[in-house]
C-alpha cells in the first residue's frame, strides 16, 4: 500500500539547475581558508614574498653590472653574481647580450629552490585534503550535493595548487613584472612574454605533478600522518637512490631511465630544458657552475617527461578510483 494520505503543505520555492562552478569554488575556498589559518602554513607562505625580493635583488644587481661593467665599483657585484650563479661575469665585455639568458637562469634557479618549499608546503597542506574527508565520512555528504567525483577531485587539487602557486607561480610572475620595472628589463616584450610563459608552464607542471601525487597518497588512508611520511618518501627516496647511482656510475653513462629516478631532479631537468639554459650558456662560452650538472651533457627531456607524466597520470586515475570507491562504500555502509 502506498503512503499518500498526509495533509501536506508543499515547499513553494523553485530550484534552479545547480552550477558545478559554485560547488567547485566552495570546495576550493573552504579548503584554502581552513589551511590558511594554520600558523606554520602562513610562515611557509612567506617564501613567496621572499622569492620575489630575492629575484628582484638579483635582477637589479645584474642590471647594475651592465651599467658598471669594467668599473671598480662593480667588483662586489661580480662577487655576488659568482656566489649565486657561479659564473664570472667580469670576463664578459657585452653583458647586455647575455641579459636574456641571465634572467632565464635567475628564474630557473629560483624555481629550483622553490621546489623544496613546495615539497614542504605540500607535506603540510596536502595529507588531510582527502584523508580527513575519508576519516570523517564527509564524502557521503559531498556526494549528496550536486557535485561529482571529478568536481571534488578538481576542487581538492585546486586547493593544493593554490598553495603551490603562491610559492612558485605568483612570486615568479610578480618578480618578472617588478624586475622589468626596476631594471631596464629584457630587450623586447616578446622575450619578456616568452619568459613569463615559461614560468607559467613550469609552475603549472609543478602544481599538477605535486598536487596529483599528494592527492593520490591522501586517498590511500584516513590517517594523514602516513600520507606525510609517504610524500616525503616519494620526494626523497628516489632522489637519494639517484644520488647513489650518480656516485657509483660515471656521469656520462647515467642516461635514460637511470638518470630519471628522482622526481625532483626530473622536474629540475625539465625546467632547465624549458628555459633552454644549456644552449644559451653554451653560446655565451661561460657556463655557470650553478648549472654545471645540467649543462655538463645535453638534457634528454624524453625520460623525465615520461616519468613525471606517467606518475601524474597514474596518480590521477588512482585517486579518482579511490574517491569513487569511498563514495560508494560510504553510501552503502
Amino acid at each position: 500500500m502506498s503512503q499518500e494520505n498526509h495533509q501536506y503543505q508543499r515547499w513553494p520555492g523553485r530550484h534552479k539547475q545547480p552550477s558545478p562552478i559554485s560547488g567547485l569554488m566552495a570546495i576550493v575556498v573552504t579548503g584554502v581558508r581552513l589551511q590558511y589559518h594554520r600558523r606554520f602554513i602562513k610562515l611557509l607562505l612567506l617564501a613567496g614574498p621572499a622569492s620575489v625580493i630575492g629575484i628582484c635583488i638579483m635582477l637589479y644587481v645584474l642590471s647594475m653590472l651592465e651599467l658598471l661593467a669594467g668599473q671598480p665599483q662593480a667588483r662586489e657585484l661580480y662577487a655576488f653574481a659568482r656566489t649565486f650563479l657561479g659564473v664570472d661575469l667580469s670576463a664578459v665585455s657585452q653583458l647586455g647580450e647575455l641579459r636574456e639568458v641571465i634572467w632565464q637562469s635567475v628564474f630557473a634557479f629560483a624555481i629550483r629552490i622553490e621546489l623544496f618549499v613546495v615539497m614542504i608546503i605540500v607535506a603540510r597542506i596536502g595529507p588531510g585534503l582527502i584523508a580527513n574527508d575519508i576519516k570523517s565520512h564527509a564524502l557521503t555528504i559531498y556526494f549528496a550535493h550536486p557535485i561529482n567525483a571529478k568536481t571534488y577531485l578538481m576542487g581538492k587539487w585546486l586547493v593544493a595548487a593554490t598553495f603551490i602557486a603562491s610559492v612558485t607561480l605568483l612570486p615568479n610572475l610578480l618578480a618578472l613584472i617588478l624586475g622589468s620595472m626596476v631594471t631596464s628589463g629584457l630587450p623586447s616584450i616578446g622575450q619578456t612574454l616568452a619568459l613569463g610563459l615559461n614560468i607559467i608552464i613550469a609552475a603549472l607542471g609543478v602544481m599538477l605533478i605535486g598536487g596529483m601525487i599528494m592527492l593520490a597518497l591522501s586517498s590511500i588512508t584516513s590517517d594523514s600522518r602516513y600520507v606525510t611520511v609517504g610524500w616525503l618518501a616519494v620526494c626523497l627516496l628516489p632522489a637519494m637512490a639517484q644520488a647513489i647511482v650518480l656516485e657509483n656510475i660515471p656521469t656520462d653513462r647515467v642516461t635514460g631511465w637511470l638518470g630519471s629516478i628522482s622526481l625532483m631532479d626530473n622536474a629540475v631537468m625539465l625546467t632547465e630544458k624549458l628555459f633552454n639554459l644549456r644552449e644559451a650558456w653554451q653560446q655565451s662560452g661561460i657556463p655557470p657552475k650553478a648549472f654545471a650538472d645540467a649543462l655538463a651533457h645535453p638534457i634528454d627531456p624524453f625520460y623525465p617527461a615520461i616519468v613525471l607524466g606517467s606518475v601524474t597520470l597514474v596518480a590521477s586515475a588512482f585517486c579518482y578510483r579511490r574517491i569513487l570507491t569511498f563514495a560508494k562504500s560510504a553510501a552503502s555502509a
Binding site: Y8, G23, A138, F143
Partner: protein, 315 residues
C-alpha cells in the same frame, strides 16, 4: 503524488544481495524506514540519494531518476548517520560551505545558512566550533545543512543514534515541525525512536520489504497475533465483566485501579463493543488506545513472520 517510487529495485554487491526486488511508493509527509542493522536501509538511502546505481529495476525521486542527476540532488537534503565534520570549524561555516556545494553564491549561502540554523534553533551556538557541540547539537547542525538549500525532500539516516532521550524528544519535535514544509524520509533501526514522529512506516529486513503502511494497517496484517487494548476509566472491573462474555476477548487484566487491558485477536469488533458498552453504561472513560502497538513488537513479529515464510519457501 509520490515523492519516491521504487519499481522492482535490486542491488547486489558482488554475490551479496543488498536489496531484493523492492517495490514501494513513498508519498508526502514523514515516512520512517525501519529495519535492523544490515537490512538494506543505507543501500536504499544511497539509491534514493543517487549515490548507488541499482543493479536492477527503476527508481524515481521527485519524478526523476536520481543516479548522476544533480538536479534531483539539489532538491534533496541529506543528513548522514555519522559526524561528517571537521571539528575545528564553526557550525555556521559548515552549513555555509554546504550551501556553497549546493550551488549558492557566497551571499545567498550566508543568508540561507543563517535561516536554516535558525529553523533548527542553533543560532545561539552557530559560531562555536563543532567539536564543542553535544550530540543533539551536532544532529541539529547536520539537519541545518540538509535544509540550507530548501530541499523538497529531507533524507535523515539514523538521526537519533547516540542522542540522549531529551535530545531525541527535541529532534522528533523538530522533525514534526519541519514536516509542514518538507517531506521527510527517516531511517532507524530502533522502532520506538520513530514511533512518536509518524504513523507511516516502511519496514525492510534482509533486503526485502517486510511491510508498508501506517501502524494500524500493519497491525491488521497480524491476524493471529493478540492485540491489547488499553482502556483507562474509573471502574475498570465493570467493563471487564461486560466484556468477559465475548468470544473475541481472549484475556482481561486490571494492572492498576483505573486501567483495563483487553486482549483480542479481533480488535475492530472489540473496539466497537467497548464503545457501545461505555455509552450504554455511561462510564467515565479517559483513554482507549492500543497498548502493544509499539513498533518494536510489530517489527519483531513481522520480520519473524517474513523470515519464516522465506525459509519455508526456500525449503
Amino acid at each position: 503524488m509520490s515523492i519516491i517510487k521504487l519499481d522492482a529495485i535490486s542491488k547486489w554487491y558482488g554475490e551479496v544481495l543488498g536489496l531484493n526486488n523492492l517495490t514501494v511508493t513513498i508519498g508526502h509527509g514523514i515516512t520512517a524506514l525501519v529495519g535492523p542493522n544490515g537490512a538494506g536501509k543505507s543501500t536504499l538511502m544511497g539509491l534514493i540519494m543517487g549515490q548507488i546505481k541499482p543493479s536492477k529495476g527503476a527508481i524515481q525521486v521527485l519524478s526523476q531518476p536520481p543516479w548522476n542527476n544533480p538536479h534531483v540532488l539539489s532538491q534533496i537534503g541529506y543528513c548522514p548517520e555519522g559526524d561528517p565534520f571537521w571539528m575545528n570549524i564553526t557550525g555556521r561555516y559548515f552549513v555555509r560551505f554546504l550551501a556553497g556545494l549546493s550551488g549558492m553564491n557566497r551571499r545567498a549561502a550566508n543568508l540561507a545558512a543563517d535561516e536554516a540554523i535558525e529553523r533548527t534553533d542553533m543560532t545561539r551556538d552557530m559560531n562555536r566550533p563543532i567539536g564543542t557541540y553535544s550530540k543533539g547539537m551536532r544532529q541539529r547542525i547536520k539537519i541545518a545543512q540538509a535544509l540550507v538549500h530548501k530541499p523538497k525532500l529531507l533524507v535523515l539516516d539514523e538521526p537519533f543514534t547516540g542522542a540522549d532521550p531529551v535530545a531525541r524528544s527535541e529532534l522528533a519535535t523538530l522533525f514534526r515541525g519541519l514536516a509542514d514544509q518538507v517531506d521527510i524520509l527517516v531511517s532507524s533501526h530502533v522502532l520506538h525512536e520513530v514511533e512518536g514522529m509518524t504513523q507511516q512506516i516502511l519496514m525492510i529486513a534482509r533486503g526485502r520489504l517486510v511491510a508498508t503502511g501506517d501502524l494500524r494497517s500493519l497491525r491488521r496484517q497480524m491476524h493471529h497475533r493478540p492485540h491489547i487494548i488499553r482502556v483507562r476509566l474509573d471502574h475498570p472491573r465493570n467493563l471487564a465483566s461486560a466484556l468477559s462474555s465475548l468470544d473475541a476477548v481472549s484475556g482481561l487484566r486490571v494492572p492498576s485501579p483505573d486501567t483495563l487491558l483487553v486482549e483480542t485477536t479481533q480488535p475492530d469488533m472489540v473496539y466497537d463493543r467497548i464503545h457501545n458498552l461505555l455509552i450504554a453504561g455511561n462510564m467515565n472513560v479517559r483513554e482507549i488506545a492500543p497498548a502493544d502497538e509499539n513498533l518494536e513488537a510489530v517489527f519483531g513479529y513481522l520480520t519473524d513472520r517474513n523470515g519464516a515464510s522465506a525459509d519455508s519457501s526456500a525449503n
